[in-house]
């Protein structure tokens, strides 16, 4: 088949699958959170609230689109798209099963990390363009936080790369056919822990959700957004979380490896990603938010040196084992 055509078709399918998944993942999170809080959660729209995400999407589409009079119109309108595009692009390089994906680049992980840090541009545009003090403070926090947590995130993600010896995500998955990296003695567990913590921070989830911080900054950078623009930001945020969950499943949980025939691979992959997503959700609904200075201290004084040390020791272990 024509490679251009193949990419276009697979890209179209993945994009729509992601959007569909994001809508239903919100339901999953709401049900999960409700159970944690001894509630029932969405129940009215469809059986067990199964149509709730569709009702939410329709509602958001029909909302009035408000642009503040003193906002920087062009920046304000462009921001949700600049925010959403990188969040969607991260799925381009994820293999969902052997040979099933848009583009299995030989620098797959690098592409993922580079693109996922680009969301900060959209965030800052939203915060700046809104011409709102809450949004501005939130944008300032966003830049601080995301830059601080990108480095530990990258260091933690590089540990599996060293162990597998490749940046290509399908190679990393294949290298775990014997032993998932999360079970790699000591190094695996520490790297996984660091990965989860810095994912939480990079995704702005509680306890690191100081960008949104509704008890201080109302809704942070998206306080002025309504209707579909708000929905786009929300979509991007959830897409990023799911993308990171998939990445975690590939890097640490053996990707599509699992019992049963080979065609069950994508299902295993999905289950593992959802496990990671629910782990993040679990943390989100049981912790309180920490302060901006504490977040930065945690990143620069604890996570950064720790992950760097971990990376170096992984390199030593890899070289030592290759030598023997």
């Amino acid at each position: 088949m024509n490679p251009w055509l193949y990419s276009a078709i697979s890209g179209f399918i993945v994009l729509n699958a992601v959007i569909g998944m994001v809508t239903y993942v919100t339901l999953l999170e709401r049900k999960f959170a409700a159970r944690m809080q001894s509630r029932i959660g969405p129940y009215r729209v469809g059986p067990h609230g199964l149509l709730q995400p569709i009702a939410d999407a329709l509602k958001l589409m029909m909302k009035e689109d408000i642009v503040p009079r003193l906002a920087d119109r062009r920046v304000f309108n462009l921001a949700p798209i600049v925010f959403l595009v990188p969040c969607m692009l991260i799925f381009a390089t994820i293999p969902f099963a052997p040979g099933l994906g848009v583009a299995d680049l030989n620098i797959g992980l690098l592409f993922f990390l580079a693109v996922s840090s680009m969301e900060i541009v959209g965030l800052f545009m939203a915060g700046w363009g809104s011409n709102n003090k809450y949004a501005l403070l939130s944008a300032m926090r966003a830049v601080n936080q995301i830059i601080s947590y990108d480095l530990p995130f990258i260091f933690a993600a590089l540990v599996p790369v060293l162990l597998a010896g490749s940046l290509k995500l399908s190679d990393i998955a294949a290298a775990q056919s014997g032993l998932w990296f999360v079970f790699y003695p000591v190094i695996g567990q520490l790297a996984f822990l660091a990965f989860v913590v810095s994912t939480l921070a990079a995704e702005n989830r509680v306890p690191f959700d100081i960008l949104e911080a509704e008890s201080e900054l109302v809704a942070g950078f998206r306080v002025e957004y309504s209707g579909m623009k708000f929905a786009l930001i929300q979509l991007g945020e959830y897409a990023h979380v799911i993308g990171s969950s998939f990445l975690g499943a590939i890097l640490f949980l053996g990707a599509w490896a699992g019992p049963g025939p080979e065609w069950l691979g994508p299902l295993w992959m999905l289950l593992k990603a959802m496990f990671l997503f629910l782990l993040i959700t679990w943390v989100r609904w049981s912790f309180v938010r920490i302060r901006v200075d504490q977040i930065l201290t945690l990143s620069w004084k604890v996570l950064m040196p720790a992950t760097l040390l971990l990376l170096v020791s992984t390199a030593i272990v890899v070289v030592w084992r290759a030598g023997v």
Partner: protein
């Protein structure tokens, strides 16, 4: 005395420039329409705070001059609507002091039971909303909030069994209480406080084993002992700053001397010690309720005959100040009677109002995120601040 150099405030600058003036409230999820804090920021750090109150002023004190002694207790509940029993208590005590009206022992015990249950309910709401402020409506805070509300509902169910209302009761009457407890109430009450007693331990392990919670609460919003005494704060804030003062202990009223309970005192003065004080008070209140239920004397619930008209209670000429220890501290009621069925003048001393005055002294120097943590730990109810 206050060290003026340390607490002197920065000049307010509303003209723009390097400093950012930011409104927190009245349209804000943490101030929900009743409070406005004008913050002056340098980056994320607060250099000055201007607190604006009065959004919930309802002329309570003037209103009391138009209502009889039988009518006003139900309205008194609306000053501090989170602890409605407390303000009723202070009002009827003031009237009883002027009229030298005896209160039967059973009524005194019933009053104590309700006041302590109300303290538990109020502290539950405080814990929930405080965690909501620190943890976010879309985070762990909401989880604690919903747990606390679940337990508070059980106490409200008890009150509903008793008086038929869930928020504003009108249970206290001059000379006693309006209702006696119905059949089966005592057993249900014991069951409820047993459950709450056990759940308090669950919250403690959920919060105190959580390093993020500790990081947000410890060493934040420190009120020194001197500042606490100078500003005149009361209740858990005062005890959190190392002052051992509780009206139930130092000036017992309504038979509080019959019960054994501890008055917790912490010395650090930060948000965490205020939290600890309230967590201990939960258990002490439950202890008092248990003792009162065990030793509840039989007899009349009021020293006055049943009311035939609302103007039947007449208080002789005189004035009195009655104070009770509410969940937020000293709630006082100053009453001037002129011999008629209505008071001549009435003045509230709201605990939240005095407690709120400490904010401008402790907030500057903190980060924006700490404002909500500190305000939550002060536990203001704006119905009581503005009246």
């Amino acid at each position: 005395m206050l060290d003026t150099a340390k607490t002197s405030r920065v000049e307010f600058d509303y003209s723009g420039g390097e400093r950012l003036m930011m409104n927190m409230g009245p349209q804000h999820p943490s101030a929900h329409g009743v409070f406005r804090a004008i913050l002056t920021l340098e980056g994320e750090t607060i250099v000055a705070v201007d607190a604006v109150i009065g959004y919930l002023h309802r002329c309570h004190e003037k209103l009391s001059e138009t209502l009889t002694y039988a009518q006003y207790p139900s309205i008194a509940s609306k000053t501090d609507y989170v602890a409605a029993m407390t303000s009723e208590f202070a009002y009827v005590m003031a009237a009883e002091q002027i009229g030298k009206i005896e209160v039967p022992k059973r009524a005194q015990y019933l009053r104590v039971i309700m006041a302590e249950l109300q303290r538990v309910a109020s502290h539950l709401l405080w814990l929930g909303t405080w965690c909501l402020d620190m943890g976010g409506a879309l985070g762990g805070g909401a989880t604690v909030f919903l747990y606390c509300i679940r337990e508070r509902e059980m106490i409200l169910d008890l009150f509903e069994m008793l008086v038929g209302a869930r928020l504003l009761y009108g249970f206290y009457q001059v000379g006693g209480t309006r209702y006696d407890i119905p059949d089966g109430w005592a057993a249900k009450c014991r069951e409820t406080i047993d459950i709450i007693d056990q759940r308090i331990g669950e919250y403690e392990s959920l919060l105190e084993d959580n390093p993020f919670f500790l990081a947000r609460a410890q060493d934040v919003g420190v009120i020194s002992r001197e500042l606490a005494e100078d500003v005149g704060i009361a209740g858990p804030l005062l005890r959190g700053s190392g002052v051992n003062f509780d009206i139930r202990r130092s000036a017992p009223y309504s038979s509080y001397e019959d019960f054994s309970f501890a008055v917790p005192v912490e010395t650090a003065g930060d948000c965490y010690s205020r939290y600890r004080i309230r967590m201990v008070e939960f258990r002490e209140s439950i202890k008092i309720v248990r003792q009162a239920l065990d030793t509840l004397p039989a007899g009349a619930i009021s020293s006055r005959p049943g009311l035939k008209s609302v103007a039947q209670i007449r208080i002789p000429k005189g004035d009195a100040y009655a104070r009770v220890e509410g969940p937020r501290g000293e709630v006082g009621c100053y009453l001037v009677a002129d011999g008629s069925a209505k008071p001549y003048r009435m003045k509230w001393r709201g605990a939240s109002y005095s407690n709120l005055s400490v904010l401008p002294h402790i907030i500057p120097g903190h980060k924006v995120a700490d404002v909500v943590a500190i305000m939550g730990s002060v536990d203001p109810v704006f119905g009581e601040v503005d009246r």
